[in-house]
Symmetry: C2
Subunit: 311 residues, 2 copies
């Protein structure tokens, strides 16, 4: 039951030190979601041998270039490769006009459906769901409309113990209800759900918190999540600069993680001024020990018991 995050780019606006602007791939049960798409994302996908074609949903946090300048190139490549399936884009207002303006001058008429879902960044709402997962917005406090995204597994069903089915001769018609927690009641007897089933696996969640000023309003939304990505553009020494530019520091990211009681914290969106990232994670860990750096090319499991990246 895969639930993992691959970092394609973890730098802030100015590409530097071989680091790239923001982009991540979320793989949930082999459904691939792209979150943000800075310049060069399509090349990063190739470098990391992640098939572009697997992506059907793209979430863009806001319209600062380091979060979306790579989108038009990726879409153009899908077009050239004769993509057949629709591509869904969730983004603040304006992105459609930007893409349309480009395509008007290049006289590009996409061969596949590009479906825009305009996102209201002012409140937390569910913007996508499938049978297993939902994605909700997390309002950020940035210079322009901006939101993070909370990927939450839906509540899993309880697991029926196979021997019990036979023992109590449970008919097929009752199984769906029992998986959802019902007792089994027949004319003669009542068997409690606890005897028939095992508890479901825990539902996991990943919160992506893009560019934001230190913003405690997000705490109830990301409360207890298994993995929190939170921007940490600056170290504490540049706190004024963080405030001026509506960004957060390592200590502030740590404080959000600590107050929200998340299982793990991943920091990223590093300023070009930092060549050495170790000092950043060390500073964040003074507040929240279970902090890791978002390192490009690495995968991070969304699971409460695994902290280390897999590569």
């Amino acid at each position: 039951m895969t639930f993992e995050v691959t970092i394609l780019g973890s730098n802030s606006a100015l590409p530097a030190h071989g680091r790239h602007p923001t982009s991540q791939v979320i793989n949930h049960h082999e459904k691939h979601f792209l979150v943000d798409c800075g310049e060069g994302t399509q090349m990063r996908l190739s470098d990391l041998k992640i098939k572009r074609s697997k992506i059907e949903h793209i979430f863009i946090s806001h319209l600062h270039g380091d979060h979306y300048y790579g989108l038009i190139g990726l879409i153009t490549s899908y077009h050239l490769l004769q993509r057949q399936t629709p591509l869904h884009i969730f983004a603040p207002a304006g992105l459609k006009e930007i893409l349309d303006t480009n395509f008007r001058y290049s006289q590009t008429h996409l061969v596949f459906d590009l479906v825009f879902h305009e996102v209201d960044c002012s409140k937390s709402v569910t913007i996508y769901e499938n049978d297993e997962l939902s994605v909700s917005t997390i309002p950020m406090n940035h210079r322009i409309p901006c939101c993070g995204f909370l990927f939450q597994e839906k509540k899993h069903l309880r697991k029926i113990i196979p021997e019990k089915l036979e023992q109590y001769r449970i008919p097929v018609s009752a199984i769906a209800g029992i998986k959802q927690g019902a007792d089994f009641i027949s004319d003669e007897t009542k068997i409690s759900n606890a005897e028939l089933t095992l508890p479901p696996p825990l539902s996991r969640s990943y919160a992506f918190c893009s560019d934001t000023l230190f913003n405690q309003k997000i705490i109830p939304i990301v409360q207890g999540c298994d993995l929190l990505y939170h921007e940490a553009t600056f170290m504490d020494e540049a706190g004024d600069r963080a405030t001026q530019t509506f960004h957060s520091t390592t200590l502030q990211a740590g404080a959000i993680a600590q107050k929200a009681g998340v299982k793990k914290l991943l920091i990223g969106h590093f300023s070009a001024k930092y060549t050495n990232l170790e000092q950043m994670v060390e500073e964040a860990r003074t507040i929240f020990p279970k902090t890791e750096l978002a390192i490009e090319g690495q995968k991070y499991f969304v699971a409460s018991d695994i902290l280390q990246p897999t590569e």
Copy 2:
């Protein structure tokens, strides 16, 4: 007297095989001109240790994404780096609207002057000149308005032989005229310019011919140039595909070079279908032996006596 071309990207629309979309830097006497700016160009400049800040003029051949998607990222980086000097952009109509649309949503107000020069791709005209160089358009035949660029050194002045100045007591006031070819005439005597001067170095020229159907109309414009870059997206076996997409083949690029009597030919804009480029240059050489591949990261001198790349 540097005149060299550095290839940043030489692939066609779909990035593949580690190759990047079109971009080149022309260095003429340490003035740096950027020609086309595909996605990732700013990273390519960093990789090749070419200082972004040296570029003051950018020429965009046409508004297909593989020739300009990297421009907005580069401009944004200039903004973040607090560029002071104006940046001149020469491009077909539409690019300003595209950039403005992006900047409107990102609420970006550039800290430097971005000066647009709208280029009419239907005819060959001089669009830029300084004391030493001029740049003219070369109309291409593509699916949308598209032009190449001819970089031509201005006619150099003749070199005065120092001993002659003394021998004939030539006054300072006469020197400028003599350098331009005038004889020296005083009350007593007339000394022919040929006796006083040496011929100037040859004026060199580089022609960049971007995406185009085989188009013999460009021959008089690029006639005799020292280095011709001509797209060769396909090999001869894919001639139909070249025609359909308004591109050229290796043999067609060779034919243009041969008919125009250029000194050297550089081919690029390779289709993603070709992993092995050697077969492409070999095919072009059957028509025009002095052909080279545009290899990313390599520099090519604009000089009639040097064929090999310098790296």
